[in-house]
């Protein structure tokens, strides 16, 4: 297989808060190959957004610390990058669409100011000399995300736009500063279903047209199933299973994936349901060993003591569960 575009190796992220240390990410391993569309699913609060923010290096530090781990992008560790390289990465290579488009737009600046600044720094010299060119480009990207009346949108403040329009604006900004990898964190979740579908379709189209890799986080299993090549399942701070999307939906192996994916009717694919009893554990005193063991019906003595690494069970299929340690 080709060399990974992005590879997260054994990454930990903690939040030092007043009540103690939240040990949220617990050895994340995650790979994206060039041109690939990767899905990421998991319950609320399992650390999906945290993982993605770590990639962009936009975790609030403090309270966040990254005691261990590497995030290799084309072989270079993002966590160790100097400011100049990091800026280049953010401007040209990786971009992120945030979960909530309303929160992701600055409420007191017009769309024009925000989008044109993005263009100015990402595509132009950063000087204010090419005003007309920047404006033309801004209108062009707004058209690319199918926003009607782009001239007016540029003059609007976020509160003057509908949720769907805000989401499209966010996508347009991400497009400006991406060539290689687009991270879409639950795009459209806050919108109604038809608009959400439109947004997802738009993302897919744009990514295919530009041959950009995508990481798609979503609670909509149907969308993940239709849009992605490979799928990760995350639980309480680490990846518990990965496989080709089709394969994973057909044969989920990890007890958690089974609960998660089986929780929804296979064909229609609604949201992630309550297929598993209990909830994500507290992060201050997380369970030892396999963090899923308190909820796992098949837990064994070893599960309490040791954290299961990924065991390879097929060509692209890996599971972090001791049930599969002697596979093959």
């Amino acid at each position: 297989m080709a060399k990974p575009l992005l590879e997260i190796k054994d990454m930990y992220v903690w939040f030092k808060v007043f009540g103690g240390i939240l040990k949220v990410l617990d050895g994340v391993n995650f790979i994206v190959y060039p041109g690939e569309k990767v899905g990421l699913v998991g319950e609320m609060g399992c650390g999906k957004t945290t993982t993605m923010k770590a990639i962009m290096r936009i975790l609030p530090m403090p309270p966040a610390v990254i005691p261990r781990g590497e995030i290799l992008f084309k072989g270079q560790d993002i966590l160790k990058m100097k400011q100049v390289k990091l800026q280049h990465l953010r401007k040209k290579e990786i971009s992120m669409i945030f979960q909530d488009p309303t929160a992701a737009l600055n409420p007191v600046f017009t769309i024009g100011t925000q989008l044109q600044d993005t263009i100015r720094f990402a595509e132009k010299s950063g000087k204010n000399t090419e005003k007309e060119g920047i404006r033309t480009r801004a209108i062009q990207v707004l058209k690319e995300v199918s926003l009607p009346d782009p001239e007016r949108v540029l003059q609007n403040y976020p509160l003057q736009l509908s949720g769907g329009m805000r989401q499209r604006v966010c996508i347009s900004m991400a497009l400006v500063s991406t060539n290689e990898l687009l991270i879409a964190d639950e795009p459209g979740t806050s919108l109604d279903v038809t608009i959400k579908d439109q947004i997802l379709r738009l993302l897919k189209e744009l990514a295919e047209k530009r041959n950009t890799s995508i990481i798609l986080i979503s609670h909509a299993l149907g969308a993940v199933r239709g849009m992605t090549d490979r799928l990760y399942v995350m639980y309480a701070g680490s990846m518990v299973e990965v496989a080709k999307t089709k394969e994973l939906f057909a044969h989920p192996l990890h007890p958690y994936s089974q609960g998660l994916l089986a929780a929804t009717p296979r064909l229609t694919g609604g949201g992630i349901g309550e297929g598993i009893d209990g909830r994500i554990p507290e992060y201050i005193n997380p369970p030892t060993g396999c963090r899923f063991h308190p909820r796992c019906k098949q837990a064994m003595p070893i599960c309490k003591d040791k954290k299961p690494p990924f065991f390879k069970v097929g060509k692209d299929h890996e599971v972090a569960c001791f049930l599969f340690q002697n596979h093959r």
Binding site: P62, R90, M96, A103, L105, P107, V108, F109
Partner: protein, 342 residues
């Protein structure tokens, strides 16, 4: 145009507020126990003289009638005669108000600018020693009454270091510039008396700073907390992830939303300046309206106290209109929200 309509509306509201305020003050002043006429004339004045003064002031009439007489004159700019100075209250106000206004204006400017600067530094350097220092200063500023600062500053800067004067508005012997606004610094600037300007500024420094400390601390705290909140907002993360440089984010995208809460409460902080000015004027021997008003209250000088409170009410209203204009300019949520409901 929208701005003009906004101001016009607010001015109309203000008229009603002032009428309401005048009724309130008027009533409180009249129902307070005490004998204004007796106090005005002194204990040795004959009873018939006291009675005549009561007649003159309509004190024997009902409250409504008294208010009617008062309001009729007030509309003509006549707020009656001060029982203490025996001069027209309007005259007294013209004489004492500029000094107070000058003091509170400088205090207000100092409070706003220093509060925002300290808060911004504190927020930018969140959790460093600089931040801790500013936070300690803020706590001290908030819990310490302004007269304590005044006394402290007088001791340190006035007597120990001797770098700032502690009395009055000008060094004795320095000639007043021509009276235009009666605010010495402005008059001196307009007429080009720069030496006088600096002398007046020096005299203003200690009283204005002591007066401003509390509000400044408040503004600094609010700015800091807005900054530390907003810096973790998704829109900042999003701007970072688009490759917008840190400097642009800090100075442009972070400051504007973070100043909005600070400026919104500025009006209230300004009110506290007006309220605290009395003790400051007393300590620094500042011939201002606060002192005049407080004396009027203590001596049951009905006309004077009513007028002083109305003047302060008017200043407060104007400051708040300006504040609301600035906030509306900075915050489209307020500007457009207001537009929508109109």
């Amino acid at each position: 145009m929208r701005t003009i309509i906004f101001i016009a509306k607010r001015l109309v509201y203000s008229v009603f507020v002032l009428i309401g305020l005048s009724i309130l003050i008027f009533t409180i002043a009249r129902v307070m126990p005490g004998h204004p006429a007796r106090m005005a004339l002194g204990s040795r004045a004959p009873d018939w003289a006291v009675e005549r003064l009561r007649e003159e002031m309509h004190l024997n009439e009902s409250l409504y009638v008294q208010y009617y007489y008062w309001a009729k004159d007030a509309l003509h700019g006549d707020f009656g005669v001060s029982l203490v100075t025996r001069r027209g209250v309007a005259n007294d106000i013209r004489e004492f108000f500029p000094a107070s206004l000058e003091l509170t204006l400088y205090a207000g400017i100092f409070m706003g600018i220093m509060g925002i600067i300290l808060g911004t530094i504190s927020g930018w350097y969140n959790n460093t020693w600089i931040d801790n220092l500013v936070r300690i200063i803020s706590y001290i500023g908030i819990v310490t009454p302004s007269f304590v600062f005044a006394i402290f500053f007088v001791l340190i800067f006035g007597y120990v270091l001797e770098i700032f004067p502690t009395m009055g508005r000008l060094t004795p012997g320095v000639v007043h510039p021509p009276l235009i606004t009666k605010m010495i610094t402005f008059d001196a600037l307009i007429t080009g008396h720069f030496a006088v300007f600096f002398d007046a500024l020096k005299h203003l420094f200690l009283p204005a700073v002591s007066l401003a400390m509390g509000g400044m601390a408040q503004e600094a705290r609010i700015t800091r907390s807005a900054l530390t909140d907003n810096v973790n907002k998704d829109y900042i993360a999003s701007e970072r992830s688009c490759g917008i440089p840190e400097r642009t984010i800090m100075f442009k995208y972070l400051l504007k939303p973070s100043f909005i809460p600070t400026i919104s409460i500025y009006g209230l902080d300004f009110a506290s300046l007006l309220g605290n000015a009395f003790l400051i004027e007393l300590i620094f021997n500042w011939p201002g309206l606060s002192r005049y008003g407080m004396n009027a209250m203590l001596r049951k000088d009905l006309n004077a106290m009513t007028a002083v409170i109305l003047v302060f009410g008017l200043v407060f209203i104007i400051v708040n209109i300006i504040v609301d204009l600035i906030v509306g300019y900075l915050d489209p949520r307020i500007r457009l929200g207001a537009e929508r409901t109109q």
